[in-house]
């Protein structure tokens, strides 16, 4: 008689993997996201579609797009368009996004523009053109950000009324504050004059010292009266006239004004120690003590153009001559 036949049923592999969930080697969405972030770390300049294709060929385009959009909204990545090929690139955002929590998107745009300006700061009108925001909205946002101590305004020395905005913890650039010679946007002319006289006196003393030994010859005397700008900077810093640190460039600007006064001359020599040229300075006498013409009143007369043989201003009754001849 016949026994019943049992047929084993086995699961049959599907010919194609389903688009949802299971993909390729069984990656989940989170794993794809992690892989993308890894890739963006490997290519800090950005990844584009091609790189994603080669890396994860099995992932569906819709999945990639969804993940990337999520990353964008989470502010973890930035999207750029390449200039030449017009391709889209994604790259990791460099800065931590933690401090921007709690601000809304318009403020984020303004913050990004100000950040980009770096330590030179950016003007109110320029922010408006870049962000295309309304003037009143922009002012509200700027006040809010200032209140949150995220940005600050610095008044520029070139135009006193103009304010530039920059991030709170940045030092303003020299072109804005004017450098060491400006304090509170005022040019400190007395400080410059004091330093001017001080440098000249230092160089004079050096020359005097050099002249004390005339027997060694004029060449030695001349070379001994040179001082380099670094040495002068050192001497002035030791005198503690200024409260802030004087750099060699600052001293060189002062020494340049002395050169233009005609009191000192500069020569560039190569120093044995450092590479490149070292500027050295020494006092020089003018080749003419004073022009002969300035020793008579006519040489410095303020009304010389009106002076003549007739009229109110004449040499015969000139008051300046009267004073000079007494």
């Amino acid at each position: 008689m016949a026994s019943p036949v049992v047929i084993k049923k086995e699961k049959v592999d599907e010919p194609r993997p389903s688009p949802s969930a299971d993909a390729g080697e069984g990656q989940t969405e989170a794993e794809i996201e992690c892989r993308m972030i890894e890739l963006m770390g490997e290519f800090p300049k950005g990844i584009n579609d091609k790189i994603l294709e080669t890396d994860m060929p099995n992932v569906d385009k819709k999945v990639k797009v969804a993940i990337l959009n999520r990353l964008l909204s989470q502010e973890k990545v930035n999207i750029f368009r390449a200039a030449v090929t017009k391709e889209l690139f994604w790259c990791l955002k460099q800065q931590p996004t933690s401090k921007l929590k709690g601000v809304d998107s318009e403020e984020k745009i303004v913050m990004r523009i100000i950040e980009e300006a770096g330590n030179k700061g950016i003007w109110n009108r320029d922010i408006r053109t870049k962000s295309s925001l309304n003037q009143t909205t922009l002012n509200k946002i700027l006040k809010a950000l200032e209140g949150k101590k995220l940005i600050k305004s610095v008044s520029s020395v070139s135009a006193a009324k103009k304010k530039v905005y920059m991030l709170f913890n940045l030092q303003p650039d020299r072109s804005v504050t004017g450098g060491s010679w400006y304090s509170d946007n005022e040019f400190e002319s007395e400080l410059v004059d004091v330093l001017n006289q001080q440098c000249y006196r230092i160089l004079q003393q050096k020359a005097e010292g050099a002249k004390q030994k005339p027997l060694e010859g004029p060449l030695i005397v001349r070379n001994a009266s040179f001082l380099s700008s670094k040495e002068i900077c050192q001497i002035i810093s030791d005198l503690k006239i200024v409260k802030f640190n004087l750099t060699v460039e600052d001293i060189e600007t002062i020494l340049d004004t002395l050169v233009y006064d005609g009191k000192i001359e500069m020569s560039s020599t190569t120093d044995g120690y450092s590479d490149g040229q070292v500027k050295t300075y020494r006092t020089v006498e003018k080749i003419l003590s004073s022009a002969g013409i300035v020793r008579i009143p006519c040489g410095v007369c303020p009304v010389i153009k009106m002076c003549g043989t007739v009229g109110a201003v004449q040499p015969k009754n000139c008051v300046y001559y009267d004073q000079w001849l007494d």
């Binding site: 001349r222 233009y260 006064d261 080749i287 002969g292 006519c298 410095v300 040499p315």
Partner: protein, 522 residues
Amino acid sequence: MPPFTLGHFSQVCCQLLNHYFGEIVGQVGAYLLRRGHRPLFDIPCATGLSIAEVKKALAVMIQHNLVKFEASERNNNIAEYSIIHHNVYCLLRYPKYLYMIKRIYGTSEEILLEILLNLGQASASNVIFQSANRLKEANDDSEFSDPSALHKSFLKLAQDNFIIRCPKLADNANIQKVPTLEVEEKEKFTVPHLEIGPIAKLLKENATQLGEHGDSEVIWRVNHERFDVELRNVILVNAAARRVDATAGELYHLILKLWRECSNPDSPTTNALSFNVIKDAVRKNEGSSPVLLEHFEQYLRVLYEDTSSLIIKVGDAGGGQFVLNYSTVFENLACATLDSIVLERFGSKALRLFRLTRIQKFMEQDQMQNIAMIPAKEAKMFTYKLLEHNFLQIKELKKGTSNFAPVKSFILFHVDLPQVARTALEASYKGLFNAMVRQMHDLTDNKRLLDKHARLETLLETLRGEGLPEDELAYLSDSMTAAEKSLVSRIHSMNDHLTLGQTQADDTILILESYLKFSSMT
């Protein structure tokens, strides 16, 4: 004829002619300065003088090398007279010439030069004769000084080119109505053979005039160009002494002498001197200080490395070749003069701006105030003041082209050195003229008082010589009150002050004129 249409230089010349030669010569001179070349018959019509006076005035001026004549272009038979401007101006410098000659040589040469300046043009024998007379009077000697010593001095002056032969009548002069004068190049400084014997004889006889003498055809005059070179050298040596020290000045003086001996005086650059030649000269010179001998190479090196271009090294042959380029060194001196004028008139900040613009050639207003480190308001004020007085000039560069909108333009400041030098030169002439006018005015105002004082002084001198007792002299001198005497002394001191001022103004004029002359040569 009021000189209000004459330029400042011509006014100065007028004033000098009036002062030294009197009014008639002054008037003729002013007319010629105004009009240039004029024949004889124009002058009396314009000046209102008689023709005899005009002829005499012209003769005096020609004798003193102030006027020259040449045949007119339109009509060969008429002579036109014109003023030699430089020689008239050099009337101012005669005291300087005497001082220089005394410093370089000695008293006998100074007397020779003084006599020659007084005579204008004279033959060698005449000059020697008159100088011997003058020395005799001054020394109150009954014995005369030997004229052969004076002859030697004359030769020295001719050798160093301080005096030069005047042109004589050309060979074909007899056939022309207007004679031409010429002199050969190589004969300009050669002294002809003089006969001292007759001069000595006349001196013994206390004669006042030298009669006929052998070389009366050979006439000499003062060589103004040579004296100008000497005056310039003084300025250069002072500059060298200021820059380094007095020994460097000594060395530079020697080198200038060597350059003068080997180069053409009219060229803007001297010929090159080699190091060895200079070294030999230093060693041979008896007056060299021991410091100079010891450190000679160092001094030379310091001088040619200096930025004032007093010496320029052009090559290495013979240990080093050195030249002097007059145009660069006088440019530096002219710049120093202009700097000094700006400093005294406007202040040190203005000087800084002026030098900055001059050194950097073209600058914008903002750049100027940043580099010069002067506050903005002050910088602008000084810049525009300098612009107003023509020390700075403006160049405008337009940026962009547009037919509608106003175009932004750059305004650049620069210093046009020849122009500024010419302005300063004119101002100096004006200052000099003013000083002269003031001096003349002071003297004429107080003429009566000064004359009385002079008469009194001469009277006292003669009476003292004749042995009058002191109390009588004191009685006479009381005829002038103490106040008058103090006034007279005050007038004298004012006069000296003004003369000194004129000399100093002349220094500036020399530097600026030399700069303009040499810069136009190159």
